[in-house]
Structures are given as structure tokens and as C-alpha cells.
């Protein structure tokens, strides 16, 4: 089922035909034919690939009856919005709001043979692919068992989570601590098929892809990166080089002026904390080398709309190298 229905297409066609009525009869048939052909082509493109349709109805993403013969819905698909999300996940709701939570569809599937066994399927619609990734990565752990579904997913005996397009999907088993993963995957696959195919991981993460990046350690924080309110949002990940572990981060502001202001706020904070700061500035790049009261050694630069940095540094020359690599990634991203 797609968001674009044939009655709407018919209406568009009718309106176009009315417009065509004012055009001279000699050219009318050519114009009408062209318009109709265009509209039909558009409809075919939109309906042939749900991923490219603008949106799907969140209520129809979850299977209305069940996802296999053995697993059937208990009740119906419930919908939640910003005002009612608390009623489903209590205070955890606050975690979702900064990521542009928009709507949640939830259903409980019970096992026909053992009705104490159930799977709660929650599909959250977030503001963007990056936001869906952000909320997903909040639950992701380095030692997860990865599954091939959506843009990325993981599973255990009691949970399966993945994100796809701007949707975050969370499956939770009840009544069992070690359900066979195949069952969770069957449920997830059914849901995945009803979601837009999406574009894979958010392209914003590309700026973190330096050789020292620890795979699957990336996170996107929609507010308070590193716990600092002036770092409004940004990406962070672990980096490992010569057995030294650090954290890299990138903040992408909307304008260069905002990036400068954010940089200045951090500089002011470090000064207020009485930390020794080395500040280097030129027309293209501003750099701080200092000790952060919470995160130890830090290097941070501002260049254009971007701020990039490293924390938990023990070896400044290693960190300098990684910062240069981040700078190159950012320059490539800015130029693309």
C-alpha cells in the first residue's frame, strides 16, 4: 500500500484536462498527450518503488494479522505521538524527542502455542536518517551480534533493533530470555519490507571515516555532545591508533558564524576552568590544544562550518595526525 492513490492521480489528470481546454484545438491533443504521459510516468516511478515514494503510512508498516502462522497480533496496532509517547515508554520518551520523534506504531505479537511468549514491535519515525541512526546507535554496543537488515541491525535472544530510512525499529521479546534469532529476524524482515528502502547509513557519518575509526563506534548526539550544552549536536566515535584509544568528534553547524561561536564558547569554558590553553588561529583554521576538565587532553579545530576534535588524548602528536585526517575528510565532504 502506498501513499499515492489512484483517486488522487485521477483528480490531477482532470484538472490538467480543464487547463488544456483553454489551449487552441490544434495543439491541444499534443499538450494533453504529453501531460498525461508525464503524469503516468510519474505515477509508475512512484508506485514501482516504495522507497522512493515520499512517505508510507506508519500504521501500515506493522503486519496487521501476524508475521508468521505461529505469531499473531494481540489486539491491534497502536499509534503514539509526541504527547502520548510517555504512555508507552515512560521517561525513555525524552531520549527520542531531540531526534525529531514524530510517530510510533506498536503491536504485540503472541505465540499461538505459548501465549506467555510475545514480541513487542515498535516502529519509531524520526526526523531524518541521521536521527534514526542516532537513536539506534544509542542502544548499539560493540559486542552486539550484527544482523543484515535495514541500514544496520543487531540482535540478541531478547531484542532486535535496526534502522532503515528515517525509521527506527525495536523488537522486544517478553516471556523468554533466549528466543531463536530466526523468529526475530522473520518479524524484522516483514517490517523492513514495508518501510522505504532508504539510502543506507547517513552520509553525515562519512566525515568520521578515518583509518583509526573503531568500526560501529559512531554515535550521533542530537543535543549536548560530550555533555556540553554549547556543543548542540554532533557525531562522536572511538579511534584507535598504536594501541592508544581516543574519541573523535565532528560538529556540523549551519553557518561559519555559528561554528565560530561554538568554538569560542568552548574556549571561554576552558579558560574559566583555569586550564592551560594553546590557541592557534589563521584565516582558514582555528585550533585549541588544551586539557578538558572532564575528558583530559583535547585538540579541537574550527574550519568553515565544521568543528572537529579529539578528546582523551595522551599523545598530542598522534592526535595531531588524526585531526589532520579528520580535516581532510571534512574538506572532501564540504567540497562534494
Amino acid at each position: 500500500m502506498h501513499a499515492y492513490s489512484s483517486p488522487r492521480a485521477s483528480l490531477v489528470c482532470c484538472r490538467l484536462r480543464l487547463c488544456a481546454g483553454w489551449i487552441s484545438s490544434g495543439r491541444r491533443s499534443l499538450v494533453v498527450t504529453t501531460i498525461i504521459a508525464f503524469v503516468f510516468t510519474l505515477l509508475i516511478i512512484m508506485t514501482s518503488n516504495p522507497a522512493r515514494a515520499a512517505e508510507v503510512s506508519i500504521q501500515k508498516i506493522l503486519p496487521a494479522q501476524g508475521f508468521t502462522e505461529e505469531w499473531v497480533i494481540d489486539g491491534k496496532v497502536e499509534l503514539y505521538d509526541k504527547d502520548t509517547l510517555f504512555n508507552h515508554i515512560n521517561g525513555e520518551a525524552e531520549l527520542y524527542f531531540p531526534y525529531g520523534f514524530d510517530a510510533l506504531a506498536s503491536a504485540n505479537y503472541i505465540n499461538r502455542k505459548n501465549q506467555d511468549l510475545s514480541i513487542v514491535a515498535d516502529v519509531y519515525r524520526m526526523a531524518s536518517v541521521l536521527d534514526a541512526f542516532g537513536i539506534y546507535a544509542n542502544y548499539r554496543k560493540a559486542n552486539n551480534s550484527w544482523v543484515t537488515i535495514g541500514a544496520e541491525g543487531f540482535a540478541s535472544g531478547s531484542q532486535l533493533m535496526f534502522y532503515q530510512d528515517r525509521y527506527f525499529v525495536r523488537l522486544q521479546v517478553s516471556g523468554e530470555t533466549n528466543l531463536p534469532q530466526d523468529t526475530l529476524l522473520a518479524c524484522a524482515s516483514t517490517i523492513s519490507q514495508n518501510l522505504p528502502v532508504g539510502v543506507g547509513p547517513p552520509k553525515e557519518l562519512d566525515v568520521l571515516k578515518i583509518p583509526a575509526l573503531v568500526p560501529k563506534s559512531e554515535r550521533y548526539l542530537a543535543q549536548g555532545l560530550l555533555g556540553y550544552a554549547f556543543f548542540r549536536r554532533g557525531m562522536i566515535a572511538d579511534a584507535l591508533v598504536q594501541d592508544e584509544k581516543m574519541q573523535i568528534f565532528v560538529i556540523h553547524e549551519d553557518t561559519e558564524a555559528e561554528a565560530r561561536r561554538t568554538f569560542d564558547q568552548y574556549h571561554t569554558y576552558l579558560k574559566a576552568e583555569g586550564q592551560g590553553i594553546q590557541l592557534t588561529e589563521n584565516a582558514a583554521r582555528r585550533l585549541i590544544i588544551a586539557v578538558d576538565p572532564l575528558y583530559g587532553g583535547v585538540q579541537m579545530e574550527q574550519s568553515g562550518r565544521y568543528i572537529a576534535g579529539l578528546v582523551r588524548i595522551k599523545n598530542n602528536s598522534l592526535a595531531e595526525r588524526l585531526l589532520d585526517e579528520l580535516h581532510k575528510r571534512i574538506s572532501a565532504d564540504a567540497g562534494s
Binding site: D83, T84, L85, F86, N87, H88, I89, N90, G91, E92, A93, E94, L95, N108, D116, S118, V120, Y139, K141, N143, S156, G157, S158, Q159, Q172, V173, S174, G175, E176, T177
Partner: protein, 300 residues
């Protein structure tokens, strides 16, 4: 005169009337109660450590009188097995129910305002079966029993509260210690939200002040913090065994702020890291400075 000064005066006065050198049981009981603000019992049996923690505060008869109607309020908020540490340990709950009856309680009622389907929460948490087996009167929340009540609060002036909880002779709060997306941790004061009606979202907007206002109104007779298992991440609903840590601990106390402040330490935090603890301390609800408290730690 605060509680401690009052007790000291009472003890000294009593001692003055006692014969020199003779053991006076009243004085000894008062001394024991006066000396202990919190008890943290540690051991493998949830039932044994629950009883030990209560005994350390002077025993269940210090709290429950013959004929009392008691409400026991665990966390039954989630459709989770006990292993996930999202709901109160059922053995801790059933032990408290049994102790209340042993102390002469007329009725012991057990309920919570579950976040998701209460049928499943009550069953999967194991609390319904365990509390019923101990004689507890287990019930689902009946929306008709919420009544708008005045609160002596700063943030909340009135709110629909569950009449059975407010009107009981004694109210025992039995939270589980776990992380919480909004309030950092959910401990005793946060568990009181389970007797609130209306919109959870509205409460969460000014949560710390709201919790203190509620705690002022409800004022539990006894708080028993279940830390047999704690949920260290992705709370309050959890769902991943990797987030659960086994501590085999139960903490008991009368001071809501003190119990929560101690609970914070189980996660490597301080009371001052938890908004409602700070707000409760400031409002005079209790003390978060553990250094000022007499804390008894018992291995069972």
C-alpha cells in the same frame, strides 16, 4: 528539636529512671532505632536480605500495627521477566507482604500503574503470583479510583492520585534501582509515580519538583530499595540482559531522600547527581548527605 535530638532526650530520660547497670529493653530498642538511618543487606537470598534490612531498622513491628491496611507499591511497570531488572524482584515483594501479615496487618494490597499492558506486566514480572501466594491482595489499577487531591507542593498543587494508596494506614514503597532516560536513575521517589493518574508526559516536564511534591504528600512508612539486580543502562524499560548487574542487595530506610541518595551510589553516582534527590534535600524532605547518616551494612 529534630528526630534524633528527641530520641536522645527520650533515651536519657528513660535511662535516668532505670536502675544503674540494669539492662532496659526499651532503651536498647530506642538506641537501636536511633542509631540506624539506613540498612543495606547483602546476600544471595532476596527474602533473607529483605527481612534482615527491615530487622536492622527495628523490625516490621516498628512500622506495621495490628489491624493496619497496608499498601505495598512495587514497580510493575513493564512486561519483563525478573531477570531484566525492569520490575521489582517478586521475592522481595512477597517477603514484605508476608512480614506485614506477621505483624498483624489486616490487609496487604499490591498494585502499580503499569506503563504497558498490566495483564502482561503483572504476570511476567512474577509479582502477581508471588504476592498472591503470600496472601497479598493483588489488583490492577481501576481508573475510577483516582481522585484529584491537593498537594503541599511547589510544582504540583493538585493531581489525581490513587485513593487506595493515599488512604491506606501504611504505605510501603518497594522500587527497583535502575537507570532512567530522564531522571538519570529511577529509585524510590520516582516509583511513586505509579500512584499518579492523568498524563505521564505532563509530570515528566518538571519531573524533579513534581516528584518531591508527590513524596511530601505520600510520605511512605518504609522504603525498601530492591537492588538484587540493577539495570545499568537503557532504563527504565531495559530488555537486554547485558545491561543487568547482580548486586544481591536490599536497602531499607524511612527517609526517602536518603534511600535514593544511597541508591545512587550503587551506580557509581552521588545523591547530588540525581535531580529529585537534590530537590528533596533542599525542600527538607530528607537528607542526601550520607556522611551524616547512620548506615548499617549487613552480609547475610
Amino acid at each position: 528539636m529534630n528526630r534524633r535530638d528527641f530520641l536522645k532526650t527520650t533515651i536519657i530520660t528513660g535511662a535516668a529512671f532505670a536502675l544503674p547497670g540494669s539492662p532496659n529493653p526499651l532503651i536498647k530498642a530506642l538506641e537501636a532505632a536511633e542509631k540506624t538511618d539506613l540498612v543495606a543487606a547483602h546476600g544471595l537470598s532476596p527474602a533473607a536480605i529483605t527481612k534482615t534490612a527491615i530487622d536492622g531498622l527495628g523490625g516490621i513491628k516498628s512500622f506495621i500495627s495490628r489491624g493496619d491496611i497496608v499498601v505495598v507499591k512495587p514497580n510493575i511497570g513493564w512486561d519483563r521477566l525478573p531477570a531484566y531488572a525492569a520490575t521489582t524482584n517478586p521475592e522481595v515483594v512477597s517477603t514484605v507482604v508476608a512480614l506485614c501479615y506477621a505483624a498483624g496487618a489486616k490487609q496487604v494490597k499490591v498494585f502499580d500503574h503499569s506503563v504497558v499492558d498490566p495483564r502482561r506486566c503483572y504476570k511476567q514480572s512474577g509479582i502477581s503470583a508471588a504476592a498472591t501466594a503470600a496472601g497479598g491482595i493483588v489488583s490492577f489499577i481501576d481508573e475510577r479510583k483516582f481522585r484529584d487531591m491537593k498537594l503541599p507542593g511547589v510544582v504540583l498543587k493538585s493531581w489525581p492520585l490513587y485513593t487506595e494508596a493515599v488512604e491506606a494506614d501504611k504505605f510501603i514503597n518497594i522500587p527497583i534501582a535502575k537507570t532512567h532516560g530522564l531522571s538519570t536513575l529511577t529509585l524510590g521517589m520516582k516509583n511513586l509515580m505509579g500512584i499518579m493518574g492523568s498524563s505521564r508526559g505532563r509530570i515528566h516536564q518538571r519531573i524533579d519538583g513534581s516528584l518531591v511534591d508527590l513524596a511530601m504528600k505520600v510520605s511512605p512508612t518504609l522504603i525498601i530499595l530492591d537492588a538484587v539486580r540493577i539495570l545499568t543502562a537503557n532504563g527504565p524499560q531495559g530488555g537486554d540482559l547485558a545491561d543487568v548487574k547482580l548486586l544481591n542487595t536490599v536497602v531499607a530506610g524511612r527517609d526517602q531522600v536518603a534511600v535514593d541518595a544511597y541508591g545512587a551510589t550503587l551506580f557509581g553516582l552521588k545523591g547530588s547527581d540525581i535531580g529529585c534527590v537534590v530537590a528533596g534535600n533542599k525542600a527538607g524532605l530528607g537528607t542526601m548527605d550520607l556522611a551524616k547518616l547512620k548506615i548499617k551494612r549487613i552480609n547475610v
